[in-house]
Symmetry: C3
């Protein structure tokens, strides 16, 4: 398998994991029919990458240039729809699939942005957007406040993983090693954050009073 092929495989694993995650979250959040579940699974899986490609001006987005992504996303969402009994026997299935997608997309999104020629800071931000964008679109569609705003550490692991993947090579690390390290950092922070209940400081309660509309 070539390096190119290996990267595509990793991307598709991320797409499948996010489609599963998105479809499971959607079934929990709202009473949807088959098409609603599949639509939200696909949006979760490919939304972040589409936002990244639009902002980079790489149009049509990668999602629309081959059939791999959409087919994989549909398969993931259908697996969630028909296999949810099996999946729900896993311990914390949404966390598992979400962490896989988040880590793979943060790193691959950041690397694609670097190749497109934007600066390091912007590449890190676009890596984070690739990772959290699809889930945020899904949350907006089912009228939940997005996880990035309330869910403890969600965007931070993605940004940290993207930062390792982008800055590693600048510091002399091999790109593959930096990508692997970035993915591990993202997954570690995400899982540690959820299991350990790590929280960012909240806006003081007083901030909600005394301001005009």
């Amino acid at each position: 398998m070539t390096a190119q092929g290996f990267l595509l495989l990793l991307e598709l694993v991320g797409v499948f994991a996010f489609a599963l995650d998105g479809a499971l979250s959607a079934m929990r959040a709202a009473h949807l029919d088959l098409f609603g579940v599949v639509t939200l699974g696909i949006v979760t899986a490919v939304g972040g990458g589409i936002l990244r490609d639009v902002l980079l001006g790489e149009l049509p987005p990668a999602t629309f240039r081959t059939w791999y992504y959409l087919a994989t996303a549909t398969a993931g969402a259908l697996t969630a729809f028909w296999g949810h009994r099996l999946v729900s026997r896993m311990s914390r299935p949404i966390l598992v699939f979400d962490t896989i997608g988040l880590s793979l997309f943060a790193v691959s999104g950041a690397q694609l942005a670097v190749h497109a020629g934007v600066g390091a800071g912007q590449a890190i931000l676009l890596g984070g957007l690739t990772a959290v964008g699809g889930g945020t679109l899904r949350d907006v569609l089912v009228r939940q406040v997005p996880t990035i705003l309330t869910g403890g550490l969600y965007a931070v692991p993605a940004l940290a993983g993207a930062a390792v993947a982008v800055t590693g090579p600048l510091l002399g690390l091999e790109a593959g090693v930096a990508a692997f390290a970035g993915g591990a950092v993202c997954a570690g922070l995400r899982v540690g954050g959820v299991l350990g209940g790590w929280r960012a400081p909240s806006a003081p309660r007083s901030a909600r009073e005394g301001l005009d509309g």
Copy 2:
């Protein structure tokens, strides 16, 4: 009238119908002022086409290249705002206008995507997005769960109509005939689905329990 002019006329009929539909739905869903109603009518009418043009990289979108689309959308929304008494005497006015817009946009969106050079599967998807995108944006802005997720058969007729318009010519059908057939399939499935109460299978209730957050 040239073929070009006939296609533009059809597009503008779709824009007008969707602006009426969007403004009427918006007035039902939320207490809005004149500018809110007109804004939502315009968003419903041109949102799907803008999303399609962004994804195809055809920028600025067609909506911004002439004044026809925005003027027609504004006229449709104002007709709904001032003429709603007249309109509400029709039987099911929202269904009528929505079906007209859905059918015209599914077919024209798919054909534009084919001309832009994407594959057949992606053209069908972009046809569907052209048809349902504007209404979905409107639903998000007035905080309703989008019709594509809950409203029975809504995206399916659009995708079916787009599929007929895209695959017909590949099977030797004349483009105009395929477009007409695609529009008829979309309208038939949509109206039949609403009047007949056709529903897609729902996510099993058990899927809403037993999953972690």
Copy 3:
């Protein structure tokens, strides 16, 4: 200071004011942690400009081409998070910062659109979108009905200011003078509208009944 530098400075003042405004509104609307507040401040500050650049096809958007915008937006949001006690002693701080951002963005967005070569009507619309787009994205993310739909005169001052900035030079006015006049018109209409309670006509109550779904 060059004219170019002066324009950039004005843009950054607008970004800072909108980031403050966005972070303050977000703290009022939902219980968010530090990262949620900063995210919403940044979205409010740069969202409108990103939407404009995407629609103009100027990609990557200006926001991603330098680090100035993102750094300024982050500083504004952090100021709101840590300094909200101080800020809330001001009379109507959200109105003040919002009006500054609205006026600067309506004018600069319209001028950028003119330079990108679109027609006058579209440039006015894109100026309005630059001004209200970021706040609308923020409202959608925290599940509020956007101010553009319900908040009395909000989009109208932005469109009026953009119209003055665009049409002034066509009528022989110097560009800088037209821009200043446009900003003053926008700020005057916005502040006058809020303090004077000006309202656009509402959709008649009867419009909410007698329509099918």
